[in-house]
């Protein structure tokens, strides 16, 4: 800061530093990871049960209400957790600003697209449309 600058240091700092959202990101990543410990293990067990099922049996298994609900939970939490995790990787390693921002956007777009597409698929299975 130059000696001639009469602005208060606090005035200069406001709005430039941390956006105060880091804790929210960190906490959301932890909450989703705790949920995924349970949902992830459930998903692996489901896949093992689907493995030997023919199409009709696999469809019927996924269409069970609890399986459908847990599958939708698993998908939403997975894409949320994935977007949060990839965000940190990109922020850590991509140091060219336009590439960083573009990748951050792409990750969010694909996460929302994947979540919506797969949840719609589960709804089609369970509602039989």
């Amino acid at each position: 800061m130059s000696a001639k600058d009469l602005q208060h240091p606090l005035k200069r700092a406001r709005g430039l530093g941390s956006a105060q959202s880091g804790v929210g990101h960190w906490w959301n990543e932890r909450v989703t990871s705790v949920a995924l410990v349970a949902l992830g293990v459930w998903f692996v067990v489901l896949v093992l049960r689907l493995m030997h099922a023919d199409y009709a049996a696999a469809h019927a298994l996924m269409a069970r209400p609890w399986n459908a609900v847990l599958m939708i939970c698993f998908l939403l939490v997975t894409f949320w957790h994935t977007a949060l995790g990839l965000q940190v990787v990109i922020e850590d390693y991509v140091h060219t600003r336009w590439k960083e921002v573009s990748l951050l956007m792409l990750v969010k777009f694909f996460a929302v697209l994947g979540a919506l597409a797969s949840v719609l698929a589960v709804l089609r299975i369970v509602l039989g449309a």
């Binding site: 990871s33 493995m51 199409y55 994935t82």
Partner: protein, 131 residues
């Protein structure tokens, strides 16, 4: 290339190798691999919703040699991210920061992930493989 000239943080080459480095790097690597794997999950659910033909196509790809290698890799990546993620949650709670505990927990993540993967695929083989 980076638009900054300052030295950037992971100076991997200056550190003496220790297991905590491996667990940290693997956590990121498996996280990225699992992110790619979500595309396969989306494909599988959409195929199941789309009908018997689409599902048969998906199942054939998943059951092909390349598909099986990917599934085996996915299983290990998932199990590793699970074990090491639990280790991170425990540490986030403020536990296990003594160096010997830290090293032991790191090895536990690695060994646990291998054991879980063998259990899953042992089960797969015991019920007659993937066919």
């Amino acid at each position: 290339m980076a638009d900054t000239r300052r030295p950037l943080s992971p100076h991997l080459q200056v550190y003496k190798w220790q297991v905590q480095m491996l667990t940290s790097i693997l956590h990121r690597a498996t996280g990225i691999a699992l992110a790619v794997g979500t595309a396969v999950i989306v494909w599988g659910v959409i195929a199941l919703a789309a009908g018997a033909d689409a599902y048969a196509q998906f199942a054939a790809c998943a059951g092909s040699p390349l598909g099986l290698i990917a599934l085996f890799g996915w299983t290990w990546a998932f199990n590793y991210h699970l074990c090491n993620g639990i280790r991170h949650l425990v540490q986030d709670a403020g536990l296990g920061y003594e160096i010997p505990q830290f090293v032991r927990a790191s090895w536990l993540s690695i060994i646990g992930s291998v054991v879980l993967t063998l259990l899953v695929w042992g089960y797969v083989l015991s019920v007659g493989g993937v066919a």
